[in-house]
């Protein structure tokens, strides 16, 4: 539509670009501070996007990488259902479809057109603002709508909303709201989050209008062309700096429920002519459990990993996006077809990164690290007779990073996606649970010249009857790998402690619990980097003094000589 006839001067371009990014940042700030869903407010499991009038992504709020794959396409997807001509100022279109959107139903997108304010006329279309947020529950068989075991089809995962005009003239459609809220476990929470989402788009629209008013349509339009062009060029330039070739790695997920087979995670990364192609086609097939990845989700974390490894410093937009291609065989685990269930796909993102990390370690060893500890994302829920209310406790148990080429892995930090934990005191205030410990596990980290981070143990006791826990973890059966002689971390476990007896739970099991039961999460340790023999003995001694390693384990890994300075 618009060709660049005159280039925007570099100063104006700088200022317009950073202003466009600040629009999506401000939208995100508004959403986060008013959100109810734990995933949004603690996990920043949301994203904001700004599109030009041609429907191209111009700026995306960097809150979670999880929507890098879906945001660029959501507008085109929505317009296939609701043609642009019928969009009016004050409208917003919602969808939570797994294929069109974020890959599972809890992610609700809200798309709003932005018109300039033209008197009685509709005004000129300037662009679109979009946000997506992970809702606490959208119905289905398991609280939190992310069950894996026994969830054999998307029809068990809650309400599916293909694009609908949920808001007209700034007002929620009351009929649609009844339909939606009548199908979820925590309708008040969802209503609050939808209000927050509406407000985020309102803030975004206002800022975008101001930007157009300040710089004029021509200049902004030209700046957008420049931004997309330069972003793509920059991304390609950075990828071109990596050594060309095809790099492969294979890892696996434990299973997709108790007693099932492992899922093969195989990746081939090809770097050629300034383009990265990440191909998961050799991976396993779709599985009959709520953990499949739709291509949008696979693309999100494949893009994120490649951005990290190539050091791509361009904020995401339709231009930068073109330099990284994600491919997976249709019908495979990483390119599932509707109605494959995908509620629990969050568990897979760390493995997507681990696999690409394993491949890229061959190309750029200094930027790779040992595998992560993986994480646990359990949801406890039920009906509490003491309060007469349904409750859902959404939890995040997050372990350490793998060893790096130059330093130990960081302890207890969120891997890949980015999330804060929920404080113990907050959980115990809001839910009928008592948490008995939250601590690092001694001797769990993968040894190395630079060791991995430790696993984490968290013990949660039920103070209510009739609780269902939906587990979402991994690395119970295969350890986080080490690199270049670094050792793998210890395997993880999930243990049910009932009447003092311990029994193992599957990493993705759904289990009924009763009052007094304790679920003990014991995350795997992260992988090490480099031969442990080369570790600085002073660090070994520190690890023993600080209790990360027992004396015996330290001796076994590093040799008795490393401990001579102790005592």
């Amino acid at each position: 539509m618009s060709s660049v006839t005159q280039r925007v001067d570099p100063v104006t371009l700088t200022v317009i670009w950073s202003s466009l990014i600040s629009v999506v940042d401000e939208m995100g700030g508004a959403l986060k501070r008013t959100a109810f869903s734990e995933a949004v407010r603690e996990g920043e499991d949301f994203s904001t996007g700004l599109f030009d009038r041609q429907g191209r992504l111009i700026a995306q709020g960097n809150f979670t990488p999880g929507h890098l794959g879906s945001m660029p396409y959501v507008l085109q997807n929505v317009m296939r259902f609701i043609p642009l001509e019928s969009w009016e100022p004050g409208d917003a279109i919602a969808t939570n479809d797994a294929f069109l959107g974020g890959g599972h139903f809890p992610d609700m997108f809200l798309v709003s057109p932005v018109f300039d304010q033209g008197g009685f006329e509709k005004g000129r279309l300037l662009g679109f603002v979009v946000n997506t947020a992970h809702h606490a529950d959208v119905g289905g068989v398991s609280p939190g709508s992310e069950g894996v075991q026994g969830v054999t089809s998307a029809f068990m995962e809650g309400i599916r909303i293909l694009p609908v005009k949920l808001i007209r003239n700034d007002v929620f459609d009351p009929d649609l709201m009844r339909v939606i809220l009548g199908n979820v476990r925590l309708p008040e929470k969802m209503r609050g989050d939808l209000l927050a989402q509406r407000n985020a788009n309102f803030v975004g629209a206002q800022r975008l209008r101001r930007l157009y008013a300040a710089y004029g349509d021509n200049q902004v339009t030209q700046a957008i062309e420049e931004i997309l062009e330069r972003s793509e060029a920059r991304a390609r330039e950075l990828i071109r700096r990596l050594p060309e070739g095809t790099y492969s790695y294979e890892d696996q997920l434990d299973d997709y429920g108790p007693g099932t087979e492992p899922i093969r995670v195989a990746v081939d990364v090809t770097l050629k002519d300034g383009e990265a192609t990440v191909d998961f086609s050799r991976s396993g097939d779709e599985v009959p459990a709520g953990i499949n990845c739709y291509i949008n989700y696979t693309r999100a974390y494949a893009s994120f990993a490649m951005r990290i490894f190539a050091g791509i410093d361009v904020p995401n937009n339709a231009g930068a996006e073109r330099a990284i291609k994600t491919v997976a065989r249709e019908g495979s685990f990483f390119n599932a077809r509707y109605p494959a269930p995908g509620g629990g796909r969050a568990s897979v993102q760390v493995r997507i990164f681990d696999a690409i990390n394993g491949a890229m370690a061959q190309a750029i060893p200094e930027r790779a690290m040992g595998a992560f500890t993986h994480w646990a994302n359990p949801k406890f829920g039920g009906f509490d007779r003491a309060t007469g209310k349904s409750w859902i406790m959404y939890d995040l148990v997050l372990g350490g990073f793998g060893g790096r080429s130059y330093k130990d892995g960081v302890e207890a930090m969120c891997p890949v996606f980015n999330c804060a934990n929920v404080p113990v005191e907050v959980h115990e205030t809001n839910n009928p649970v008592r948490i008995h410990r939250l601590e690092l596990i001694q001797d769990s980290s993968g040894g190395g010249e630079h060791r991995g981070g430790s696993g984490i143990r968290k013990d949660v006791e039920m103070l209510a009857d009739d609780v269902t826990v939906t587990l979402l973890g991994d690395r119970h059966l295969n350890s986080p790998y080490g690199l270049f002689g670094g050792l793998p971390g210890a395997r993880g476990r999930t243990v049910l402690i009932r009447d003092g007896e311990e029994s193992d739970l599957g990493s993705k099991e759904v289990r009924k619990l009763r009052r007094g039961d304790v679920v003990s999460f014991r995350l795997a340790g992260a992988g090490g980097y480099g031969d442990p023999v080369r570790r600085d003995p002073a660090k070994v001694i520190d690890d023993v003094k600080d209790g990360f390693l027992s004396r015996g384990k330290a001796e076994a890994i590093h040799g008795a000589a490393a401990l001579t300075g102790l005592d």
Binding site: R191, L195, F202, R210, I308
Partner: protein, 704 residues
């Protein structure tokens, strides 16, 4: 009756001395970093000696000594505090190491977390447990706790912190532990979380308590040593020290709550801005302090600085979430990496300014100390805003040719711009960064900039202030006199305060009145008791506030609450205050959703005697012509490089009025007055710039 204030900063220690008639003398000396008290005592001794015939300089006549210091902040930044033992609930020794676990930069997997103030080996566990409502689930194992107390006593620690889960709800176990510690190690300073920070969320509470213990021995020793030295000078009055909340406290309170004096200096600076606003008839002031490495932005509403219940120390590149969070009331300042020394680079054909800074060493290219990358100061020099012969009052000669050449080769040539365009690019990109930050502080937080005045200070603040004000439609800019020692002056006008807070979850329904009454009765009793130790006998004013949210949300909003009787009607007022604050902050509210409060606060302020406290700084104007020259200055508002009159601030009187473009030079800074704007000197001696109406970008939209 003389009052003396001193602010010990990293480079300079600033003094202000006010005599009984209100007149103020200011001066500064280099800081002695290893022994900060040394410079203070030496400088005062010399002043007293030089003026020994002036009764105002009689040490015995010194009535108040007011002090701001970075000692606590530096101890944490440099990890040079005490060796602290942490005693905590069994099963939770890793609270500090785990933290909140979020990366401060999502797109960086190679970052590190802040190093905890207590290493893992110094954390001790005790078997005990409270529930969220404060009830005892498992009684404290006294025998084991006594054993821990003994280990701590024998461990060679300087201080100890005790933090048990849910101790904000009931201090019973922490007090028991403190008693056992007192038996085993009577001289060891103990910080209890139920005293230092009785608020929920264990990581933040633990970190605050540990930080308190970490700085306690150092601050205690420092306060004692300083007091002794000043006594030796013959000054009998007690010290008052600035807290991060903008209020002064007595040495006793500072010894007990040393973590509260972090950010002491910047808080005093904001109090100075509040006073300057008051002098010029403004209750609503935005504050803008731009120095060598950062710009700090703040707000004063109704004469009081915006205060937040949390503060982050030791942040990386001013990124939220990268430092150590502290539950302390702190004057709210948004800090961004935009200062005179911020480095400009090109990337992707764009100009990027900051957050990397050339700092003071090597500094900008124009300092001639080996700096090779162009900075904001280099750009400002190239644009003609700075006088190469009168930088820092002429103490430093600037290399204008070097600055221009650096900008031309590193920014101009890669982008196809000439040196002026390139310098203007750096200047305006820096402005855009600060404008965005200013928008966050103002519009995004429900403040209408058109109702505010902008008080600008710091070495680079007055140079950038007018363009910033225009962009935000702020109608008036004030450049205070004495801005170079703003924190020292702020100390002279600050009041004594003490705040208390606690966590109690109260749902705003029909049953809320009772709990609210109990909470405020408790808090107000505690704060009055503490206020009696503040070191002043004036009337005590109380300000209530609460952290509130819709039930189910995770972020709270701090809501100022009315005073008055806490009867049944009061609960309704609390709810209304929340709704109004929420509406202002976020542009909407939800009348159907239930509301709860999580934390409650009372701040006690002891009203100072303001008579004779107006800051009257000596004027040196002698009636000479303030126009001291003219030079070409880049003003795109006037079409480019235009001749611009240069004013000597020290020659200005309240009779003068000049219409821009003009530059006003003073020792510490240069004020850029844009074409059409009017600059004059107020009766109080502040520069006041009235912006030409209609020059600002339209801000017609309001939030919903």
């Amino acid at each position: 009756m003389t009052r003396i204030s001193f602010d010990i900063g990293g480079t300079f220690t600033d003094f202000a001395l006010q005599t009984a008639d209100g007149s103020v003398t200011i001066w500064k000396v280099p800081t002695t970093p290893r022994a900060p008290a040394q410079a203070v005592v030496a400088s005062l001794r010399q002043r007293f000696g030089d003026n020994r015939h002036d009764p105002a300089y009689d040490p015995a006549s010194v009535e108040e000594l007011l002090h701001a210091t970075t000692i606590a902040t530096n101890a944490i930044l440099e990890r040079k505090g005490a060796r602290v033992a942490l005693i905590t609930t069994a099963g939770f020794r890793d609270v500090l190491l785990i933290g909140r676990q979020k990366r401060y930069d999502t797109n960086n997997l190679h970052l590190d977390k802040p190093r905890p103030l207590v290493p893992r080996r110094d954390v001790f566990e005790v078997d005990e447990r409270l529930a969220a409502d404060g009830s005892v689930v498992r009684a404290l194992d006294e025998a084991a706790a006594r054993q821990v107390a003994r280990s701590v006593a024998d461990g060679g620690y300087d201080a100890v912190a005790v933090v048990f889960l849910h101790a904000y709800a009931d201090p019973v176990h922490e007090r028991l532990m403190a008693a056992l510690l007192a038996e085993a190690a009577p001289d060891l300073p103990v910080s209890l979380s139920s005293v230092i920070s009785p608020k929920f969320r264990e990581y933040e509470r633990t970190n605050t308590t540990v930080a308190n213990a970490y700085v306690a021995p150092l601050v205690g020793t420092y306060v004692d040593a300083l007091t002794t030295s000043l006594r030796d000078l013959g000054i009998g009055s007690d010290l008052s020290i600035m807290q991060s909340n903008g209020g002064l406290a007595s040495p006793d309170l500072v010894r007990a709550y040393p973590v509260r004096i972090i950010e002491s200096g910047p808080a005093a600076g904001v109090m100075f801005c509040a006073e300057v606003g008051r002098e010029e008839g403004y209750d609503h002031v935005m504050t803008f302090d731009m120095g060598g490495t950062t710009a700090k932005l703040g707000a004063i509403d109704d004469g009081s600085p915006a205060v937040t219940p949390t503060f982050e120390v030791d942040a990386v590149n001013y990124r939220k979430g990268s430092g150590l969070p502290l539950n302390i009331m702190a004057v709210e300042l948004l800090e961004i990496g935009a200062g005179g020394g911020s480095i400009a680079r090109t990337r992707m054909g764009l100009i990027q300014v900051g957050p990397d800074s050339a700092g003071a060493e090597p500094g900008p290219i124009c300092y001639g100390h080996g700096g090779t990358e162009p900075t904001i100061t280099d750009a400002n020099l190239t644009l003609g805003y700075l006088n190469p012969a009168y930088f820092n009052g002429g103490a430093m000669q600037l290399d204008a040719a070097g600055a221009a050449a650096g900008i031309e080769t590193q920014i101009g040539q890669p982008l196809g711009l000439d040196r002026l365009q390139a310098a203007w690019g750096i200047h305006s990109v820096a402005n855009a960064n600060m404008e965005r930050a200013m928008r966050i502080v103002s519009i995004e937080r429900g403040r209408d900039p058109r109702r505010y005045a902008l008080v600008a200070f710091g070495g680079a603040g007055p140079l950038h202030a007018c363009r910033l004000a225009r962009a935000l439609e702020i109608p008036r800019v004030i450049v205070p006199r004495g801005a170079g020692v703003g924190s020292a002056l702020g100390l002279l006008v600050a009041e004594r305060t003490f705040d208390v807070g606690l966590t109690r979850f109260v749902r705003m329904d029909a049953a809320a009145a009772g709990p609210i009454a109990t909470i405020f009765a408790d808090l107000e009793a505690r704060v009055r008791e503490a206020a009696s130790h503040l070191g002043s006998s004036g009337a005590v004013r109380l300000q209530r506030s609460a952290s509130m949210r819709y039930v189910g949300q995770g972020h709270e909003l701090r809501v100022l609450l009315p005073d008055g009787s806490t009867d049944a009607a009061y609960a309704e007022q609390v709810l209304q205050a929340f709704t109004a604050t929420y509406q202002r902050e976020f542009g909407y509210s939800d009348p159907d959703a239930p509301v709860e409060a999580t934390d409650w606060y009372v701040v006690a302020t002891v009203a100072g005697d303001r008579r004779g406290r107006d800051l009257r700084l000596d004027s040196t104007a002698t009636g000479r012509d303030p126009v001291v020259g003219e030079r070409p200055v880049y003003m795109p508002e006037a079409g480019g490089l235009v001749p611009c009159r240069i004013l000597d601030r020290y020659a200005l009187t309240s009779e003068h009025r000049f219409v821009g473009p003009v530059l006003v030079e003073e020792r510490e800074c240069t004020t850029v007055v844009l074409p059409g704007d009017t600059v004059s000197l107020s009766a109080a001696g502040n520069l006041v710039i009235d912006l030409l109406p209609g020059q600002s970008e339209s801000l017609a939209e309001t939030t919903r």
